[in-house]
Structure formats: C-alpha cells, structure tokens
C-alpha cells in the first residue's frame, strides 16, 4: 500500500461531489473551479480536474458554453444540468450519511483506545 496513492484516492473520491457543489449556484470556468478547490487544499495539482470534468460532462451532469476572454484563449463556462442538480442532491445526502458514519466509527475507535 502506497500512502500517497491512498491519500490521492480519498481526495479523488470526493472530488466529483465538490466540483458539482462549486457549480451549484453559479456557472464557472475551469480556473475559477480550480481556485476554489485549491484554496480548500482539496487539489494540489490542476491536472486531475480535466478528465473529471469531461467525464461529468459526458455523463450529462454538466454542460458548458464558450466565452471570449480578454487576455487568453476563450473559456469554457461549466454549469449544472437538471440531471446534475438531482445527482448533487443525492450525493449531498450520501455525503452527510457518510460523514456521520465516519465520525461515529473514528470517535468510537478513539474511545476504545483510551
């Protein structure tokens, strides 16, 4: 078992949920999504997000539109589809359950050790 791999897997597991959450209220282009995720220290390198975005888009959870930018190349603005919104609701529910479950298990463990 490689500790770095395990860490990366844990992060990647929740990454899809987080991306969808970022886009819940307003559309954003990749750099904005990245900024939010990086600020939260959920993402170390940017590369991971591209295959994820494409996959979510191909699954019909996201769609995008092009917008011209002043300095660089045109930007892809991503937004949630209706399916994406339902998906996000479902995930939020699961996440809450999972959080509670993990909290119970880990605190239980600590009590046993004490």
């Amino acid at each position: 078992m490689n500790i770095e791999n395990t860490k990366a897997q844990m992060r990647k597991g929740v990454l899809e949920y987080c991306i969808l959450s970022v886009l819940r209220d307003n559309d954003a282009y990749v750099a904005e999504i990245l900024e939010t995720l990086k600020d939260a220290k959920l993402l170390v390198v940017e590369g991971t997000i591209y295959p994820l975005l494409t996959r979510l888009k191909n699954a019909g959870l996201l769609n995008y539109r092009w917008e011209e930018s002043t300095g660089g190349p045109p930007r892809k603005y991503y937004g949630l589809t209706d399916t994406g919104k339902d998906f996000l609701k479902e995930l939020t529910h699961t996440w809450d359950e999972l959080q509670t479950a993990v909290a119970i298990v880990t605190t239980q463990k600590n009590k046993n050790h004490e």
Partner: protein, 583 residues
C-alpha cells in the same frame, strides 16, 4: 543563446525555447498516453492545452517574451505529473494487473538496440527468456550443420519479424507491462531519444490486453486446452516452414549452380541445349524457378504466420507482384512448351537404298560396328551430346533399329530409313537427311554402325534410323550376337530374324528363316548318340530322383558325368569340357 519555436496553443501564439518545447511536448504526450480515448482524450487534451495557454499568457508580460524551460516547469508543477491525470478506477486497476500482465503479451520483435546483424537473435532471446548469446551460438551451430541453409531462415525472420520501434514494442518484447510508469522509466533510461517515437503507442489496446489477461487467468482449464491446441498449430507451422524452406533452398541452389553458372553438368542442361527451345538456358531456369518457387514462398509465409503472431505482412503490392510474376512464368513455360510441340508437328523420312551383292547361294555375315566413343548410356533412345574429332559439339544416339526381310530378287539390298520431326514436312525431311549413318560391306560381311550422329543445330527432334536388310530367298544369314539389342523382332516391321537366332546359320526362305545349326537339333543328336546307347557304358552309376514333376537323371560313367532334367536342360561333363544346355 537558444533557438526558439513558434507554437499555437489553443489558438494563442507563443515563442518558446526549443528545449522548453521538447519538454512540453513530452509532457503532453505522456498525458495523452495516460488517458484512454474512450474518456474523450481529444477534448481533455484541448482543455489542458487551453489552460496551459492561459497560464503562459499570465506569465508573459509582452508579446515578444519567450517561454523558457523555467516557465514550462512551473506550469507542469501547477498541472501535475501524468499519473495525476489518471482517474481513480485506473489507479485501482493498475495495482492488480501490473504483476499479471508481466507474463502476458510477450511478443516477438527484433531488438535492434542490441543487435549484431538484424536483432533477430536478441529478439528471440527476449521471447524465449534466454540470453541472446545462446541464441546466436545456436544460429552458428545450425548454420554450420546445415551448410549455410539456416542463413536463409535468418533472413526470412529478419524480413518478417517487426522491429521493436516504439517504447511499447520494446516493453512487450521484454514481456513488461505497457503502462505509463514503465514508459516513463524507459524514456528516462534514454531508450528513446526522439519524442515522436513514442507517439505510436496504442495505450488503450494494451490496457484492454491487461484486462483480458486478468479474466483469462480464471479460465484455467479452458486455457490449458487452448495451450495444447496452440502447440499443435505451431507444430504444423514448423512442418510447413521446414518443407517450404528446404524446397526454396533447393531451388535456390539449383538456380544458382546449374541454371546460371553451369557449375554442375546436369543431364537436363544437355537436353535443353539440344532441344533448341528458342530460349536460353537461364531464362528457362528462371521461369521454372518462379513457377515452382513462388507457391512455396507463399507456403513459407503461411508457416511463418502461424508461428509469429504479429507477423509483418509483405504487403499487397508485393503479393500482387509475386502473383503476376508467377502467372507470367507459367505462361512463359506454356508458350515454350507449345512452341516445342509445333516444332515436332511433322515427321520427315529419307530412304537410301544400297545394293547388297548377295545371291541365293551366298552367306551373309551381319554384325554391328561399335565405336566406344558413341556407346549407349542408360537409355537407348536418348540423344547425347559429344565433342567430335574436330571439337564440334554433335549429338549422337544408339537408337538404331535393325530389320531383316526376305526378297524374291536375285540379289539383296539395304534400305536405310532416317526419320526426324520438324515444324513442317520440309524441315523434318531436311533434318532427317542431316543424320549421318554409315554401313560397310566387305567380302560377304556387312557392318552396320551401332550409332548415328547429327549436328547440334538440328536439335533434338526424335531422330531415328532404321536399317532394313533384304536377303534373297535361299541365301544364308549369319547374324552376330552383337546385333541382338538392335534387332526388333516385331510383326509391325515384318522382321523375319527372331530373337535368340543370332550366332547361327539361318536359311532365308519366303518370310521366314530356317535354322540350320540351332541348339535344338544338336542336342537331339547328342541325346541319341550318347545317352541312350547303354551298351557302351562300363561301371555306370545311375540316379533317378525327384518327384513326378521334377524328374532329374544323373549318370556317372567312364565317359563323364551327365545330369539330365529334360530334353533341353542338361549338363554334361566329359574330357571335352563342360557343356551346359539351357532352354
């Protein structure tokens, strides 16, 4: 000082240092390989390129600023290593399939990085899992043992086994898993110096291979049967390869020794020279070589295809060229064959008659005149090539037929009938006339040559000589024993000289001969004279043995020993010598 390259990244123009460009290209290639195309590889790469362009734009203050390797490294640090682009499920899979795929998908390639000649030996070494030095030793031993023939097999492998060009090829040649980590490692090891080389990696294919490899491990029994079947098929492949290979080698040797250089004086070279087909010997050899060799060549490839899974095809154009060449050879041979047949369409005959001064009271001694220079070989009817006294190349044959007939004329005569084939009657007749054949008559002895000769430029056209000796009725013929192999005792020719009558005096009557000194008469006399006259016997021992079908009488007395089986089979030992009579 640095050379710069102009690039277009997501529609934005950049100046970039050459080394920075190479690094960026490596990076993008590596990412591309870490993504399978089903995930939308093209789109992801476009997004990444757009992001990199954005980052570069932020870093460059003016349009004239050049992107250096430092900027590229910074961008890579932000974007992450190729492994970071892999999605989670691929990471899980990697750990389980790496170990297994090591034994899977080992393929035969030529290892040109560690080659002496064509990389065949080192490639085979990787494939068989042994050191290349042993394979090379084996090649040398086999080549020496087969007196060079294995060189051709080596060359065939050289041609048909693909070279390990890409990193993926090199990895599967060694049986290592084709994955991003191994490819990166190989690149770091300096396996590839040019970035473009790695682009041909079909990552998805190897990914799938690894997956099916994992699932097939579960089907243990099925794969066991498949393995046995595989070995059987491979054995058939080896058999085909060996048959076709040896035939091709034989043809090659035949072509280069006999056909072209004429090192070996094979019998058919003489024949072809005499036949006058109208094409030089090397053309016929080449046509035959193609006509026979090309089908075997395809057989050879078939065998090789069975053995080497990823065999490089010789290509459709090459196949068509070979097929065309084969058809042309067949047509060429057919045309020559038809031409040869038309050259023999007509038969010509020339008859010369000579008077034989033999009357009904005379006796004729008939004998063949042999010349050791023109003696018969294994086949009497064959024409053979020879240099005559003046060193001209001539043809000769011992295909001389002798026929004896009776005539009502007062004197005898000889007819010499020469025949030959030709493309028309005149040609055939001219050719028949060109046959040289001699007879000589001396006293009352007639000598016939045992052979005839013809010029080489008359070619082989079924030349024959028939000698008919007409003898007046009432004359006597003594035929020498040596004519027996020329004598045709056949009703078709009306021959009156029978087999076994040679060496006897024969009285010629109308359409038959009367034997005056044949053994039957002699033995009858002897029987009456000495056998049945018992009065003369003194101290005689008689044996009568055997059963009713095998009755043998043995008599020993003062005159000698007689062993009689029947009237015609007897042995007599006396002071005159040993006499054996056999029917």
């Amino acid at each position: 000082m640095n050379k710069t390259v102009n690039i277009n990244l997501a529609g934005i123009f950049f100046h970039i240092d050459e080394d920075a460009f190479t690094k960026l290209q490596h990076y993008l290639d590596a990412i591309k390989r870490s993504l399978s195309s089903s995930q939308g590889q093209e789109e992801i790469i476009a997004d990444i390129e757009a992001r990199i362009a954005e980052l570069f734009s932020e870093k460059t203050k003016t349009d004239r600023q050049v992107i250096s390797i430092r900027e590229v490294e910074e961008v890579i640090a932000i974007m992450g290593q190729p492994e970071d682009y892999m999605l989670d499920e691929e990471i899980f899979e990697d750990e389980t399939t790496y170990a297994r795929s090591k034994t899977n998908g080992k393929q035969l390639f030529r290892d040109t990085d560690h080659s002496y000649v064509g990389g065949v030996s080192s490639g085979l070494g990787h494939y068989l899992g042994i050191q290349a030095i042993w394979v090379r030793l084996l090649w040398i031993i086999l080549t020496l043992a087969s007196s060079g023939a294995f060189i051709l097999i080596y060359i065939a492998l050289w041609i048909f086994v693909p070279e390990a060009k890409t990193t993926a090829d090199k990895l599967s040649m060694r049986g290592e898993a084709v994955n991003i980590t191994n490819i990166e490692r190989k690149i770091r090891e300096g396996f590839d110096d040019v970035s473009g080389k790695v682009r041909s990696v079909d990552y998805e294919k190897y990914g799938n291979q690894a997956r099916t490899g994992a699932s097939s491990a579960a089907k243990g029994v099925g794969s066991g049967i498949f393995f046995l079947l595989n070995i059987f098929v491979k054995l058939i492949g080896i058999l085909i390869l060996l048959i076709a290979g040896t035939t091709l080698i034989g043809l090659f040797i035949a072509l280069f020794t006999v056909g072209t250089f004429g090192i070996i004086d094979a019998p058919w070279t003489d024949y072809i020279e005499m036949a006058g087909i109208g094409a030089p010997l090397w053309t016929i050899s080449l046509l035959t070589f193609f006509a026979v060799g090309i089908p075997f060549f395809f057989l050879f490839i078939l065998g090789l295809k069975i053995l080497v899974r990823k065999l490089k095809s010789i290509g459709t154009p090459a196949k068509l060229v070979l097929l065309g060449l084969w058809l042309l050879s067949i047509i060429g041979l057919a045309v020559l064959g038809i031409k040869q047949a038309t050259l023999r369409a007509f038969e010509g005959e020339v008859v010369t008659t000579e008077i034989l001064p033999i009357t009904s009271q005379d006796t004729l001694y008939l004998a063949m005149k042999y010349n050791p220079d023109y003696s018969s070989g294994a086949y009497k009817t064959d024409l053979k090539l020879k240099f005559d006294e003046k060193d001209n190349k001539i043809m000769y044959s011992t295909d001389v037929r002798l026929v004896v007939k009776s005539t009502k004329d007062s004197t005898g005569r000889i007819e010499i009938i020469k025949t030959a084939d030709g493309s028309d009657y005149k040609d055939a007749k001219q050719r028949a006339e060109n046959i040289r054949y001699n007879t000589s008559f001396l006293g009352n002895e007639l000598f016939l040559d045992s052979y005839f000769t013809a010029n080489l430029n008359d070619h082989y056209r079924d030349q024959e000589v028939r000698v008919v000796v007409y003898l007046p009725e009432g004359s006597t013929l003594y035929a020498d024993e040596n004519i027996s192999s020329f004598n045709r005792s056949s009703d078709y020719y009306g021959n009156i000289l029978n087999y076994d009558q040679e060496g006897n005096y024969l009285k010629i009557s109308e359409n038959s001969t009367l034997c005056e000194s044949c053994p039957q008469t002699e033995s009858d006399n002897w029987d009456e004279d000495s056998w049945d006259n018992e009065d003369e016997f003194d101290g005689t021992i008689d044996f009568e043995g055997g059963d009713s079908t095998d009755n043998v009488k043995i008599r020993i007395n003062g005159k000698g020993i007689n062993i009689n089986k029947d009237e015609t089979n007897k042995i007599r030992i006396s002071r005159d010598g040993i006499e054996i009579q056999k029917n």
